[in-house]
């Protein structure tokens, strides 16, 4: 049975990689792109990487539940605030997540986010102002993981994505992330599909896919003595729309107390553009506080985006 699981999973992932060869979508044709935003400040500070992150597992339900059985802590709970694109079209986003590592064998995760978007002016067909409206976006997800082999785990998330755009105009979709992950010594690797889900229909009846991708995550943790630790993460996404994106991030931790982080994302034609990011965190008696700041070029809408969060783990 375990072999069957691996066989099926590999078929799904391979299909995900093969699919974009037949479909090439125009920019903007993917619905609910906010599903791909890294909300937690640890991931954001590291270029948005985190598929194989085992130190910040509270947000596993947003990306990869298969990482939970490898988590350092039994339970990780966190919440964050992010001001997304403050210089262009601000979104005040709050999010929360929790993950429970059950004896290193199973994992359960849940997460929620809500984004209050900037108000826009309603204009009629002749250009006459007719009021205003504040859109909102919401995401709620549940993840399960099973380490069915000592070196291999399987995780899956199911998420609801909602977007209210105008009075009486709300859109919804269901998405899932499915990953297979392994950890050997300090090396972690995961492969799977992200944000695979239902289509969203526009007012004119056209269907739009979610920004799904085949995802590969790699990570390596290095300890230098008792006080110094370094984590390096790499994520790569091959979107079904044909776009490719990759991110690399590094974290240095001193005495398991203070961390500094940096990363870079290459967005390409994907839904999240390129950016660099930095961040820091402190951890004390299981309580951790983290911040992240996105460094983007002058023309990027992501400039000045920042995130701050707190959590507790044991």
């Amino acid at each position: 049975m375990k072999r069957d699981i691996v066989r099926v999973f590999i078929s799904v992932v391979c299909a995900g990689f093969m699919f974009p060869a037949a479909v090439s979508a125009a920019p903007g044709s993917e619905a609910m792109p906010f599903a791909r935003i890294a909300r937690d400040p640890v991931s954001a500070a590291m270029g948005g990487t985190g598929v194989v992150s085992t130190s910040a597992s509270a947000y596993a339900s947003f990306r990869n539940a298969a990482a939970i059985p490898y988590a350092k802590n039994t339970l990780d709970v966190a919440a964050a605030y992010m001001n997304w694109q403050p210089s262009v079209s601000p979104v005040q986003d709050i999010s929360a997540g929790a993950a429970w590592n059950i004896a290193g064998k199973f994992g359960i995760a849940a997460g929620f986010s809500y984004g209050a978007c900037e108000k826009y002016d309603i204009m009629d067909a002749s250009g006459k102002a007719a009021g205003s409206f504040s859109p909102s976006q919401v995401q709620a997800g549940l993840g399960l993981a099973w380490k069915f082999l000592p070196f291999l785990s399987l995780g899956a998330n199911v998420k609801y994505l909602g977007n209210t755009l105008a009075e009486g105009q709300s859109y919804g979709a269901v998405a899932s992330d499915v990953f297979l992950m392994t950890k050997v010594a300090g090396l972690k690797a995961a492969v799977g599909v992200s944000s695979l889900g239902s289509k969203v229909k526009s007012a004119s009846g056209a269907g739009f896919s979610l920004p799904a991708s085949a995802t590969l995550g790699l990570g390596y943790g290095l300890k230098a003595g008792k006080r110094h630790g370094v984590d390096i993460l790499v994520d790569a996404d091959y979107y079904f729309s044909g776009a490719f994106a990759a991110a690399v991030g590094a974290s240095y931790t001193y005495n398991d107390l203070v961390s500094v982080r940096a990363g870079y994302r290459y967005g390409g034609e994907s839904v999240i553009p390129s950016f660099a990011s930095v961040g820091a965190g402190v951890k004390f008696f299981g309580v951790h506080i983290d911040v992240a700041y996105i460094i983007a070029t002058g023309g990027s809408p992501l400039r000045n985006t920042f995130s701050v969060g707190a959590g507790f783990s044991f």
Binding site: V88, S89, A129
Partner: protein, 877 residues
């Protein structure tokens, strides 16, 4: 009835000076002997009044029951006549009167019918003749047009005082002649004399009333504890007697003067005061004292619109049978005996002795005290329809009827003064002052040494109309009849006159002659015949059949004034013997004047004169397609014959009609009612004897030329709500024909823009921010048109950039101000750039971004132009 007709005619002729009529002719004259002749314009067109005998009336009523006197005229045998004349309707003049129908029929009023027929079928005189020739027709006459006699005085409400002059025009419930016939008295005798004092024994007169003040004399209260106070009833009665005439305000009074000379004087002998605690019940005073006080203070007429109250009819009957007693009786006797005399019995007033006039009472009973006391004059009440007012007491003891009105229908009451204004009242109380007023006029004119109260009564009662005895309220008051009553002396004959033939008419001119007992002749009868012997020993009451006659009423002309008349419809080119005789109101005829011989002339055709600038016979009038041209045409007949006009228009563009205001026949040529081309309209005028003349009028309707665009209208930008601008369309569109164009305006968004066309100018107003497409179509009268289109943008100056619609479903418009190279970048919610282009953009050339391939969601749009960068949020659905 005959006097009624006379009175109306006298009023009409007072203004017309001369007219032809047979109303003044003796009753015995038959319809065949004296056909109605005269100019048709003095008659109402298409209507005649007919009286049938009992037999024919029964047949007509049977036809009416069968479904219609006209459509079912089988039993009456009138169907052929109806068909030939185009009879439209035939209805009773006096409609079915309910419970009063028996007495209406008894009076023969049910036999009068008003016949309405198609005017083009026959002249009214010929129509009347057609009816008159039928067996069973007693009377058939055209209806003379009525003119208000109000011109004699300028009081604005006189026309509502039907009780003085009733021409039947106020409503269908007002019958012509149901009045007191006072206008001829005002015109010929007197409007009142201040030497005559009338004591009004009643509620107090409003001495300060604008329409009474000048004729108020004095007053005395006979109600203990009260001075003379204005009272509605007393003031109304007083106004009927002597409201001031010709003062430009309010109403007229019977003896109220003429504006220049004062009328009779009013004495208020107050016996009623309004009870302040119960205004519906007056406080009474001493009537006997009041009556006597009048006699002792100069009054010769005692006006009493009051009576006694009784608990039951039996009490009233008993009192009536017992007769009047008590101080009132003695006071009345005292007034009658001593009024106008001094303490020694010498006449010092205008009349020796007085008259006491009482209202009969309003109980609809055959009793009424004190009115039934024989020495007084008892007055019953008549409505505006020659019927006894339903409330009026009645009986042989009622001496005379006068209008007391009926306020149950509009303008049916008597209009007179009340404190502070005017009002309609009804009652024998209102009838009574009509008699007092006429009595005052008689004393005013005839009064003087030797004139007695008995003479007054004789004239007053003797001159009244007796033909309405069925009302049982005495004869009907006739002021003019009273003045002319007893006249037995015929007017002086006409001693010289001129006579001249005009075609088959003979015009005669003479001077008004005097009448020894009536001052002047009432009218003249003009006679013409081809048989000289027919005029010898002629009986004017029964004219020979070969004598043609016309009557002319004197009206307000005086003795010696020139007067003229015309005998019409004689045979052409024949010798006639003509003469004139005068007659008075009592139909006493003078001798026939000397007879003159006149030969009538041949008939001349009418003449047509086109009175249009630049028109010459044979020329072609050019009419532009949009023009409507009125061409006055004067159609005259030098012989004075009636003329009919026939128009052959030549095309649908020409219509013709008589213009009553100018007396011309007007051809109206409407250019766009016919196709362009040359046409001829032919106008033919034919007189009543068949002589005709025609005039051809050539006209050309020119081809139409469509309006053209001179210059296109540019798009416009308004910068604030409420901004206005005006466009003179003559700078943009021109009509080669010079026609005023009609502008149809289409505005794509009427919430944004309003355009009000005014002539050639369009007034535009910005209503809201936004843009609207405007299409203006200019059309001429033939609907040929041209169209201008432009856009108007009402742009919020605080918003240099507009993205619309938002939310967008397909195409997003990005509008800026002036045209500039503009970079537009559209980014998804996650920051992905989905559109990035640079192109010229302006207010009227917005960038159009195809968003159909974008997923529903939120987007950011960055717009850069002129060195500035703007970011807006939009939503794609």
């Amino acid at each position: 009835m005959k006097r009624s007709s006379l009175s109306i005619i006298s009023i009409i002729t007072a203004i017309l000076v001369s007219s032809c009529s047979r109303e003044g002719l003796p009753e015995q004259q038959s319809k065949e002997e004296a056909p109605v002749q005269g100019k048709e314009e003095i008659f109402e067109q298409g209507v005649i009044e007919v009286k049938f005998d009992d037999t024919l009336t029964e047949k007509i009523e049977a036809d009416l029951k069968a479904g219609g006197a006209v459509t079912k005229a089988t039993s009456s045998g009138l169907f052929d006549l109806y068909s030939s004349m185009g009879i439209i309707s035939m209805e009773r003049i006096f409609p079915y009167a309910g419970k009063f129908e028996p007495r209406t029929r008894e009076a023969g009023l049910h036999r009068w019918y008003r016949v309405v027929y198609e005017p083009s079928a026959a002249t009214v005189t010929k129509a009347a003749d057609s009816f008159a020739g039928l067996p069973g027709v007693e009377y058939a006459e055209p209806v003379r047009k009525k003119k208000l006699a109000a011109a004699i005085f300028n009081d604005p409400d006189f026309h509502n005082q039907w009780h003085y002059y009733n021409d039947g025009s106020l409503s269908s419930r007002h019958s012509a002649g149901a009045d007191i016939n006072v206008v001829p008295v005002w015109e010929n005798y007197t409007t009142g004399n201040p030497d005559v004092i009338v004591s009004v024994v009643d509620g107090g007169i409003d001495r300060n009333h604008e329409d009474i003040k000048a004729n108020y004399y004095t007053g005395q209260s006979f109600v203990k504890g009260y001075g003379v106070e204005a009272h509605g009833h007393g003031t109304h009665v007083a106004g009927t007697i002597a409201a001031v005439n010709n003062n430009g305000i309010g109403v007229c009074g019977i003896a109220g003067g003429n504006g220049k000379d004062k009328g009779v004087r009013l004495m208020s002998c107050q016996i009623f005061v309004t009870n302040p605690d119960n205004p519906s019940k007056d406080i009474g005073g001493s009537s006997s004292e009041a009556i006597k006080w009048g006699a002792d203070n100069g009054a010769v007429i005692s006006q009493n619109s009051w009576g006694y109250s009784y608990e039951t009819e039996a009490d009233a009957k008993k009192a009536h049978e017992q007769g009047l007693s008590g101080p009132d009786k003695d006071a009345i006797d005292y007034f009658i005996k001593n009024a106008g005399l001094d303490e020694n019995g010498n006449q010092v007033g205008p009349m020796a002795g007085g008259v006491v006039i009482f209202a009969a009472g309003n109980d609809n009973l055959p009793y009424g005290l004190p009115a039934s006391y024989e020495p007084v004059i008892a007055v019953g009440s008549m409505t505006s329809q020659f019927t006894r007012a339903p409330y009026s007491n009645y009986g042989n003891w009622v001496d005379i009827a006068a209008p007391g009105g009926d306020t149950s229908y509009g303008q049916g009451g008597v209009l007179s003064t009340v404190p502070g204004g005017y009002d309609w009242y009804q009652g024998t109380s209102m009838a009574c002052p009509h008699v007092s007023g006429v009595a005052a006029l008689i004393v005013s004119y005839f009064g003087g040494p030797g004139f007695t109260n008995e003479q007054l009564k004789e004239k007053l009662l003797g001159g009244a109309r007796n033909e309405f005895s069925s009302m049982r309220i005495g004869p009907v008051m006739d002021a003019y009849g009273a003045f002319t009553y007893g006249g037995t002396i015929a007017p002086e004959p006409v001693t010289s006159f001129s006579a001249e033939a005009v075609s088959n008419n003979i015009d005669m001119t003479w001077t008004v002659t005097r009448d020894d007992d009536d001052r002047k002749a009432f009218g003249y009868i003009l006679v013409a015949t081809q048989n000289r012997t027919s005029l010898e020993d002629i009986n004017f009451r029964r004219l020979p059949s070969d004598v043609v006659s016309q009557t002319v009423l004197v009206g307000d002309l005086n003795v010696g004034d020139e007067i003229s008349g015309r005998i019409t419809d004689l045979d052409f080119e024949e010798t006639y013997y003509v003469g004139i005789a005068a007659y008075d109101y009592n139909q006493n005829y003078s001798e026939l004047s000397a007879v003159r011989t006149v030969r009538t002339l041949s008939n001349n055709p009418p003449e047509i004169t086109v009175e249009y600038d630049g028109y010459e016979p044979g020329n072609v009038l050019q009419i532009k397609s949009f023009e409507t041209v009125r061409i006055p045409v004067n159609v005259a007949d030098r012989d004075g014959h009636d003329v009919s006009i026939n128009l052959t228009p030549g095309s649908d563009a020409v219509k013709g009609a008589a213009d009553p205001s100018s007396g011309k026949y007007v051809l109206t040529i409407t250019g766009n009612a016919a196709d362009p081309g040359t046409y001829t309209a032919t106008l033919t005028a034919t007189d009543s004897y068949g002589a005709a003349v025609s005039e051809d009028i050539n006209y050309e309707i020119l081809p139409n030329r469509a309006p053209v665009i001179i210059k296109e209208l540019e798009n416009m930008i308004f910068t604030y709500i409420g901004e206005k601008t005006a466009i003179d369309m003559s700078a943009y569109i021109h009509d080669p024909d010079g026609e005023h164009l009609k502008f149809d305006i289409y505005i794509s968004d009427r919430n944004v823009l309003h355009i009000n066309p005014s002539g050639n100018t369009l007034h535009m107003t910005a209503l809201n921010y936004g843009n609207s497409d405007v299409t203006i179509t200019a059309s001429d009268s033939r609907n040929e048109s041209c169209t201008l289109a432009f856009s108007v943008l009402i742009k919020d100056p605080s918003s240099s950039l507009e993205l619309y619609p938002n939310p967008v479903t397909d195409y997003l418009n990005v509008r800026t101000g002036e045209e500039m190279e503009t970079r537009i970048v559209v980014m998804s919610a996650s920051g992905q750039t989905v559109y990035d282009k640079t192109a010229p953009v302006s207010a009227f050339s917005p960038a159009k971004i195809d968003m159909t391939a974008c997923a529903p969601g939120r987007y950011s749009v960055k717009v850069s132009y002129g060195g500035n960068e703007y970011i807006r949020s939009i939503v794609k659905l």
